[in-house]
């Protein structure tokens, strides 16, 4: 009886513990530590991975995800340095502008699917990066990027340590998570997956697949834009190469290695791989070797991603037992 009650309260307990850890993290690591910076970056990566997966639910692998992040980042920088707008306005504005760009681009982009969508977004990613590296130098300052941003303020509160960045990122992450969770757990999730599985059948049961794809594309890209704004002010500046092909691949890796099947996959992927480069910094040039090997091993042995690890282990343990019983 007692055990039953304990079981019922277990999820609540988990959430409670998780909330305390998340809220207290800056004071565990120290408000200005190297580790806290890594955690904020992991948070930004998690937002990117979650939104990428949201778009991926319809079967579209958006390689241009960093570009929308860049749009948000540059907008929030311009908003502050050129238009003297408050930081928060720039941040939300960056998300909106990224969303508007996504809305306009969804018309040409979403007409194609599969590998063609992959290619068209790859092209856009590189076009944007090369364009801002070479043109409009007085705005984007070429490949050198824009650095030396002042610490932002929200309503008179100055971001003097990393802790406010951490909490800001946490809020954005929780909003992103809530949106993705809500979409996936309601019937919208099934509709999105149905478009991935058989888009013609979806259309023939009356689903306007263009607008459904556009919804998730715009929402995903706006949140990527907000993440970009946080990144810009966390680092104190950005350059076009932050938003190139390597980062696009990194986000895909978070999603695929973490596991596409559930919402927890990309979170796990970003948590482990978003910081892996930093964890392995001591290995110098060998870090990439380790990184790559881990990737290959995971893809070979856990095709459904790291999130599948516990059930795989359970399978491996159960199998010998079943064999023995059969004999």
């Amino acid at each position: 009886m007692k055990l039953k009650r304990l079981k019922l309260t277990m999820p609540v307990l988990y959430i409670f513990v998780a909330a305390i850890i998340l809220l207290a993290l800056p004071y565990i690591t120290g408000v200005n530590s190297y580790w806290l910076r890594i955690f904020v970056i992991i948070g930004i990566n998690t937002v990117m991975a979650l939104t990428l997966r949201l778009i991926l639910l319809t079967g579209l692998m958006n390689l241009a995800h960093p570009t929308f992040m860049a749009i948000g980042a540059y907008f929030s920088i311009f908003a502050m340095t050129r238009f003297q707008l408050p930081f928060l306005v720039g941040l939300i504005g960056g998300g909106l502008v990224a969303g508007i760009c996504a809305l306009i681009l969804s018309y040409p982009f979403l007409r194609v699917k599969g590998v063609y969508f992959f290619l068209i977004t790859l092209t856009f990613l590189e076009m944007f990066r090369i364009a801002i590296s070479n043109y409009w130098r007085d705005w984007f300052n070429g490949a050198d990027g824009i650095y030396g941003l002042m610490a932002p303020t929200i309503g008179g509160f100055q971001f003097t340590s990393l802790a406010p960045f951490y909490y800001l990122c946490l809020v954005v992450l929780l909003i992103t998570f809530a949106i993705c969770w809500r979409i996936e757990k309601s019937w919208s999730g099934s509709v999105l997956l149905s478009i991935r599985d058989a888009d013609m059948l979806s259309r023939c049961v009356g689903i306007n697949i263009m607008s459904w794809k556009a919804y998730v594309f715009v929402i995903g890209c706006s949140l990527a834009g907000v993440a970009g704004g946080i990144l810009a002010f966390l680092v104190g500046g950005v350059n076009p190469n932050n938003f190139g092909f390597p980062y696009a691949v990194d986000i895909q890796v978070f999603v695929i290695v973490g596991g596409m099947g559930t919402i927890w996959g990309p979170i796990l992927g970003a948590l482990l791989f978003g910081g892996l480069g930093d964890f392995l910094r001591g290995l110098g040039g060998y870090a990439l070797l380790v990184n790559g090997s881990v990737l290959v091993l995971i893809i070979l042995f856990l095709p459904a991603g790291l999130i599948d690890f516990p059930s795989r282990i359970r399978q491996l343990i159960r199998r010998p037992a079943v064999d023995a019983r059969e004999k």
Binding site: W187, V205, S211
Partner: protein, 256 residues
């Protein structure tokens, strides 16, 4: 009133005329069969009617409204829903989710309402749950409710294809070879189910089928297509005795 009407429907693929000036009409509540040898253009007619292809020439009217060239989803929302010849299903979704997506039409709610209105979503979910459960019980799919569509045996996949279409609550159901590859027993039970659906939901059916036993049982009237052209139309009995139809299916015997 005529439910569905095509006037001079023509579809050309380059130099090939797949459908040539076909006039077809389906009355409300009628079961009309569309038969003809392989490659006669039956499936192309379906694809043109449901907006998958745009017709080269001709007009399509549904409930008196011109739906020529409209998108498949726009046509489906007007109450004209089809199944596919191959087992086209939402492969990675469960049987229940397949039917739930099928009943999307009945909801008339969009993505944003679903995102922000918790209460109405819960109500929707309850309604979908109830309807889907009823439909699954009726079709005998309830014991595979949580199976992934891809892993179902062929007969169940055909049945699920029809279930997804019925879940849309159409006024006209277009079935593309619903009993293909089924055993005679399976095929009989499918035909029985279709008869019941027709009776209970007052739905008209336009069916393509090669299984003549099934066609003769279910169809009120039959239209025969060969080389993209309509060669005969009438009651099952008349069609069976029509020399043109016999020639199309068996050959004339000349030159043997």
């Amino acid at each position: 009133m005529v439910l569905l009407e095509t006037r001079g429907l023509t579809k050309r693929f380059g130099g090939l005329t797949a459908v040539n000036a076909v006039d077809l009409s389906v009355e409300p509540g009628e079961v009309r069969a569309l038969i003809g040898p392989n490659g006669a253009g039956k499936s192309t007619i379906f694809n043109v009617i449901t907006g998958v292809y745009k017709p080269t020439n001709g007009k399509i009217f549904f409930k008196g409204e011109d739906i020529t060239g409209k998108s498949p989803n726009a046509i489906a929302t007007r109450g004209l829903v089809r199944t596919f010849q191959a087992n086209v299903l939402f492969g990675t979704l469960t049987v229940f989710d397949n039917i739930a997506v099928g009943s999307y039409l009945a909801r008339k709610k969009g993505f944003l309402q679903n995102l922000f209105c918790t209460a109405s979503t819960r109500q929707d979910n309850n309604e979908i749950n109830k309807k889907a459960t009823e439909l699954m019980e009726f079709l005998g799919l309830d014991h595979v409710k949580d199976e992934v569509a891809m892993s179902l045996p062929h007969g169940y996949q055909r049945l699920l294809g029809v279930a997804v279409a019925i879940a849309c609550e159409p006024e006209l159901l277009l079935l593309d070879e619903p009993v293909t590859g089924m055993t005679p027993t399976e095929s009989d039970s499918m035909i029985g189910l279709l008869m019941t659906v027709r009776r209970e939901h007052k739905v008209a059916i336009l069916i393509i089928e090669h299984n003549m036993r099934a066609v003769m049982t279910i169809a009120d009237r039959i239209t025969v297509i060969n080389f993209g052209e309509k060669i005969a139309e009438g009651l099952p009995k008349e069609i069976r005795e029509n020399p043109k139809v016999i020639k199309a299916y068996l050959g004339s015997g000349e030159g043997l």
